[in-house]
C-alpha cells in the first residue's frame, strides 16, 4: 500500500515539475523586464509580424525590409520624423537648375560608412550607376524595382527620367534629367535610394542582401531568418552622442496577440501590428504607450467609370451621399482615422481643405438617382478584399456596412470576393463595377496619390487607377504639376485637380487610417516614421 502512494506521489511531482518547469520553485521573472544590467548594454527589441526579405535597400519593396534598412543606411534627403517636411540627410542642400533639367545636391562632409570608408560624391555616383545603369558591373544582386518604377526605367530606356549622374566636385553631384521632374527630392527620401558603401558592394560583387554597409546610426551584426535581425551602434556615426542605444533587435512574432503578450511581459519594447480590438486595452495599460501616426494612405470605394450605371457622375455622387464614413471609422477603426474627402490624406501639403464633403443625405441621393434614370435603384456588385490591409482592417465587414447604406437608396449590392492575387488582377483589368481598395504611399509627394490613382495613363490594365477615370483637364493639371519645381505652385495645381475630381467623384475616399504602434513606457523619444527614414537614432531606454 505504501508503495502505491509513493508511486502516486512521484508521478504527481514529476507531472508538476514538467508542467510548471520549476522543480526548485523559481518565481523570478524569466524575461528581460529589467534592462540587461548584467551587460550594461541598452538593447531595444522591436516586435513585428514578418521577417525582412533583403537588406539591400535598392531591391527592397516590403515594409519589413525597409524598416531595417532605414536604420543601417541614410538617404540624401529625408522627412522630419512623422511629418511631410523635407530635411537634409546626407545632402546638406539641393536645388534644381533654372530649366528644371537637372538637380544639384551638396553633400555632407566628414561622413563615413560603418566600414570606415568615406562618403563622398564618388560614392553617390557609384550607387546611382549601380541602380540605373545596366552597363555598370554592379547593376546586379537586386531587382532595382523602385528605381525602375519611380524613375521611368534605367538609363537609356524610353521613359527614363534620369539621364546621368555626374560628380561636380568631391562633395557635389548633379543629376541630369531627360525632362523636368519636380518630385525628385521626395522620391529620393525612399529607402530604395539609400547610399551603400561602394567598397562593400565591390567586396560582395553586388550581392549585399546579407551584407549591408551604410552610413546609418546602426550597423549590421546578424540575421537569423524568421527570428531576429541584430544591429549595433555604428561607432563611425556622424553625430556624436548618437545613437543612444547600443543594440537594436528586430524580432519576428507572427501573431498579433502573442506579440502584445510579449510586450506586456517585457520581452520586447516596441511593436507594430496591433489588433484593433486591443487598442483600448493598450490605452488603459499604465505600462504602455500607444503611438498614433498621421495617415499617409487612403481606403476607397472605386467605381468603374467605364461601366453603366457608374459612368454617370450623379449615380456616383448619390452613393457618396449615402455612405456614413463616421460610422465606419467608429466601428472599424476605433476612431483612429480621418474621413476621406479627396484622395489625398489631410496632412499632405497639397490637400485642399476648402472642399466640403458630400453630407449624408438620403433624400438628395434618391433625387440624384432619379435624375440619372434610376428612381427605383438597381442591382449591382460590391467587391471586397479578402484580407485586411493597413488602410482597411476589416474589408468584409466594411462592405456589409456599405451594402446596408446602399440599400437605403434602393441599390442592392451583392458582395463579391476573390483570393488576394486574383482580386488585384481582376480589379487591375477593370472587371469590377464597384470595388474596395486603397493605396499607401512611400513618400509625401502628392503625385504618388494623384498621378497613380487619377491619371488616364494609369487607367490601362494593369491599372492602378481602379476607377478607370479619364479626364483630360485633370491629366493636364497633373502633368503640369510634375514639371513645376515650386512647391506652392504645385500645391495650387493639385488643389485645382482635386476640385475637378470631387465633382466627378470617381472614388468615394472612405478613410485615411492612422497607423498605431505600442511600446513600453521605458522607451524614450520614439516618434514613428510614416514614410521612409530612420526612427531609432535618438531613441533611448530608461531603467
Amino acid at each position: 500500500m505504501q508503495m502505491k502512494w509513493a508511486a502516486c506521489a512521484a508521478a504527481v511531482v514529476a507531472l508538476l515539475a514538467v508542467t510548471t518547469g520549476c522543480g526548485g520553485g523559481t518565481t523570478q521573472p524569466a524575461n528581460g523586464t529589467a534592462p540587461t544590467a548584467s551587460s550594461g548594454q541598452k538593447t531595444l527589441i522591436f516586435g513585428r509580424g514578418g521577417d525582412s526579405v533583403t537588406l539591400d535597400p535598392s531591391g527592397s519593396t516590403d515594409d519589413e525590409s525597409n524598416m531595417v534598412c532605414e536604420e543601417i543606411y541614410d538617404t540624401l534627403v529625408t522627412y522630419k520624423i512623422g511629418t511631410p517636411e523635407l530635411q537634409p540627410d546626407l545632402a546638406t542642400s539641393w536645388e534644381p537648375s533654372k530649366d528644371g533639367m537637372s538637380w544639384t545636391f551638396h553633400l555632407q562632409q566628414g561622413v563615413k560608412f560603418s566600414d570606415g570608408t568615406p562618403f563622398n560624391a564618388d560614392a553617390v555616383v557609384f550607387n546611382f550607376q549601380r541602380w540605373g545603369d545596366p552597363n555598370s558591373p554592379y547593376h546586379k544582386g537586386s531587382s532595382f524595382a523602385h528605381y525602375k518604377s519611380d524613375l521611368g526605367g534605367f538609363y537609356g530606356s524610353p521613359g527614363a527620367i534620369i539621364k546621368d549622374v555626374e560628380k561636380v566636385d568631391d562633395y557635389t553631384v548633379r543629376i541630369d534629367l531627360t525632362h523636368p521632374f519636380a518630385p525628385l527630392p521626395n522620391i529620393l527620401t525612399q529607402v530604395a535610394y539609400s547610399i551603400a558603401s561602394p567598397e562593400a558592394i565591390k567586396k560582395y560583387n553586388g550581392d549585399i542582401s546579407h551584407h549591408p554597409v551604410g552610413t546609418g546610426a546602426f550597423e549590421f551584426v546578424s540575421w537569423t531568418p524568421n527570428d531576429k535581425i541584430v544591429l549595433k551602434k555604428n561607432p563611425n556615426y556622424r553625430t556624436p552622442g548618437l545613437p543612444k542605444l547600443d543594440q537594436l533587435i528586430f524580432q519576428v512574432i507572427p501573431d498579433n496577440t502573442a506579440r502584445l503578450n510579449a510586450l506586456r511581459a517585457g520581452q520586447i519594447d516596441l511593436m507594430e501590428g496591433l489588433n484593433p480590438s486591443d487598442i483600448q486595452s493598450v490605452k488603459s495599460d499604465p505600462n504602455l504607450n500607444l503611438y498614433v501616426s498621421p495617415s499617409n494612405n487612403v481606403g476607397y470605394l472605386a467605381f468603374n467609370t467605364q461601366k453603366k450605371p457608374f459612368d454617370d457622375p450623379r449615380v456616383r455622387q448619390a452613393i457618396a451621399m449615402c455612405i456614413d464614413k463616421k460610422a465606419l471609422i467608429d466601428a472599424y477603426y476605433n476612431g483612429l482615422a480621418d474621413a476621406g474627402v479627396t484622395i489625398l490624406p489631410p496632412k499632405n501639403w497639397a490637400y485642399d481643405s476648402s472642399i466640403q464633403d458630400y453630407p449624408v443625405d438620403i433624400a438628395k441621393a434618391k433625387q440624384l438617382l432619379a435624375e440619372a434614370g434610376y428612381p427605383n435603384g438597381f442591382d449591382t456588385e460590391l467587391w471586397a478584399m479578402p484580407i485586411p490591409r493597413p488602410y482597411m482592417p476589416q474589408p468584409q465587414q466594411i462592405a456589409t456596412a456599405i451594402q446596408g447604406d446602399l440599400a437605403k437608396i434602393g441599390i442592392h449590392a451583392k458582395i463579391v470576393t476573390y483570393d488576394w492575387a486574383t482580386y488585384l488582377k481582376k480589379t487591375d483589368s477593370g472587371e469590377h463595377t464597384m470595388c474596395l481598395l486603397g493605396w499607401s504611399a512611400g513618400t509625401w509627394d502628392p503625385t504618388t496619390f494623384m498621378y497613380t490613382l487619377l491619371d488616364s495613363k494609369n487607367a490601362v490594365p494593369p491599372a492602378n487607377n481602379s476607377a478607370f477615370y479619364k479626364n483630360p483637364a485633370v491629366d493636364k493639371l497633373l502633368e503640369q504639376a510634375l514639371t513645376v519645381s515650386d512647391q506652392n505652385q504645385r500645391a495650387e495645381l493639385y488643389k485645382q485637380a482635386q476640385k475637378l475630381v470631387f465633382q466627378d467623384e470617381p472614388y468615394v475616399p472612405l478613410v485615411h487610417s492612422q497607423p498605431v504602434r505600442a511600446g513600453s513606457k521605458r522607451v524614450i523619444g520614439f516618434t514613428p516614421q510614416v514614410t521612409g527614414g530612420p526612427q531609432f537614432t535618438s531613441v533611448d531606454l530608461s531603467n
Binding site: M3, K4, A6, A7, C8, A11, A14, L15, V18, T19, T20, G21, C22, T26, T27, Q28, P29, A30, N31, G32, T33, T36, S38, S39, Q41, T43, I45, G50, D51, V53, T54, D207, S209, H210, S222, T224, P225, N226, D227, K228, V230, Q247, I249, Q251, V252, I253, P254, D255, T257, A258, R259, N261, A262, R264, A265, Q267, I268, K425, P462
Partner: protein, 334 residues
C-alpha cells in the same frame, strides 16, 4: 529481427521514389507557365525566360526529373525565389528549431501521457481516473492557439514564471553551432543560458505536446487495461509482488506496442504541424518557413519543405516499426 529490418528498409525505396515524383510534379501543376505565374503578369519576357531556364523548365520532362533527382542526391534543394539563398542552408536552422521543440514536447507528452494512462488504468473508476480522462478529452479537443495564448497570459503575464515568446533571450544571444540551442548552450558551457533555453521551451512545448499527451494517455489506459486482465499479471500479484512492480516491470512492456504506434504518428505530424505553435510563440521553425514560402508562392521552398517533411515522416515511421518489433517479437511482417 535483422531480416525484418532490412526488408522494412528496402520497402522505403518505392515510397521515396513516389514522394520525389509528387514533389517534382508540384511545379508542373501550376496552371499556365510556372515562370510567368511566379513572376506575375507585369514581368518582362526576358526575366521570365531567365527564370524558366534557371528552373530548368525549358528542358524535356524526363531530363528535368533526372536533374531534380541528381540535385537531391547532392543535397541541393535549389534556391529560394524570394531571398535568393540556397534552401538547404536556409532550412536547416528552421528544422533544428522545430526538431528541438518537437522532441521536447514529445518527452512531455510521453512522460505525462504514459504515466497518467497507467495510473488511470491502475486506479480504474476512481476520481483520479475520471479526472485524468476528462483532462485527456479536453486535451484532445483544445485548439492549440487558444491554449498557447492562455499559457502566455497565465505563466507569462500573471505569474511571471516563464518567457512568452522566442527560443532564447535575444539580449543574450546563443552562439549557434548545431542550431539545437540546448546542445549549443551546453557546448558553450553556459549553464545560465541553458536554463533560459529550457524556460523558453516549456510553454510552446506544452502547447504542442498537449494533444499527443492526451492521445497517449487514452491509448496507454486502454492498452494497460487489456494487459492487466492477463493470467501472468494475476500470477505476479498472487506471488505477492507490489502493484507498482507488476505494472511498471511486467505489464508496461506488453502494453507499450500500440502506444508506440500512436507516439510515432504523433511525432511525425508534430514536425509538420507545429506551424500554429510556431506562430503563437514566435518560434522560427520549419512550419513557419514553409508557411511563409506558401504565402510568397516560393515554389522551390514549398517543394523542398514537403520533401524534407515527408522524408522525416517516413523515417520516423520506420523507427517506430523497428521498435514495435522489439517490443512485440511476434510481429515479423512477411
Amino acid at each position: 529481427m535483422l531480416q525484418y529490418a532490412i526488408r522494412r528498409i528496402l520497402q522505403l525505396i518505392p515510397v521515396l521514389f513516389g514522394v520525389s515524383i509528387v514533389v517534382f510534379a508540384i511545379i508542373h501543376l501550376i496552371p499556365g507557365d510556372p515562370a510567368q505565374v511566379i513572376l506575375g503578369q507585369q514581368a518582362d519576357p526576358q526575366t521570365v525566360a531567365d527564370l524558366r531556364h534557371n528552373l530548368g523548365l525549358d528542358k524535356p520532362l524526363y531530363q528535368q526529373y533526372l536533374m531534380f533527382l541528381a540535385q537531391l542526391l547532392h543535397g541541393d534543394l535549389g534556391k529560394s525565389l524570394v531571398t535568393q539563398q540556397p534552401i538547404a542552408s536556409e532550412m536547416f536552422p528552421h528544422l533544428a528549431a522545430t526538431a528541438e521543440l518537437t522532441l521536447f514536447s514529445m518527452v512531455f507528452a510521453i512522460v505525462v501521457g504514459v504515466n497518467a494512462g497507467i495510473l488511470s488504468a491502475w486506479k480504474r473508476n476512481t476520481w483520479f481516473d475520471y479526472v485524468a480522462m476528462v483532462i485527456a478529452l479536453v486535451g484532445v479537443s483544445v485548439p492549440i492557439f487558444w491554449l498557447g495564448l492562455m499559457e502566455q497570459w497565465l505563466f507569462g503575464l500573471k505569474l511571471h514564471w516563464l518567457p512568452v515568446i522566442g527560443r532564447a533571450d535575444p539580449r543574450d544571444p546563443v552562439t549557434e553551432v548545431t542550431h539545437f540551442y540546448l546542445i549549443d548552450t551546453l557546448l558553450a558551457g553556459n549553464a545560465h543560458q541553458f536554463w533560459t533555453v529550457v524556460q523558453h521551451l516549456i510553454l510552446p512545448g506544452i502547447a504542442l505536446g498537449t494533444i499527443p499527451m492526451a492521445v497517449i494517455a487514452r491509448m496507454t489506459r486502454s492498452s494497460m487495461l487489456e494487459v492487466l486482465k492477463h493470467d501472468y499479471v494475476r500470477t505476479a500479484r498472487a506471488k505477492g509482488l507490489a502493484d507498482f512492480w507488476v505494472i511498471y516491470k511486467h505489464a508496461l512492456k506488453n502494453s507499450f506496442a500500440p502506444v508506440l504506434t500512436v507516439i510515432g504518428i504523433q511525432l511525425g505530424s508534430l514536425l509538420g504541424g507545429a506551424v500554429l505553435t510556431e506562430t503563437i510563440f514566435g518560434w522560427p521553425g520549419v512550419g513557419l518557413y514553409l508557411y511563409n514560402g506558401i504565402g510568397a508562392r516560393d515554389y522551390p521552398v514549398i517543394q523542398s519543405g514537403i520533401l524534407v517533411l515527408s522524408v522525416i515522416f517516413i523515417v520516423v515511421n520506420l523507427i517506430v516499426d523497428l521498435l514495435y518489433a522489439y517490443f512485440d517479437p511476434r510481429i515479423q511482417y512477411k
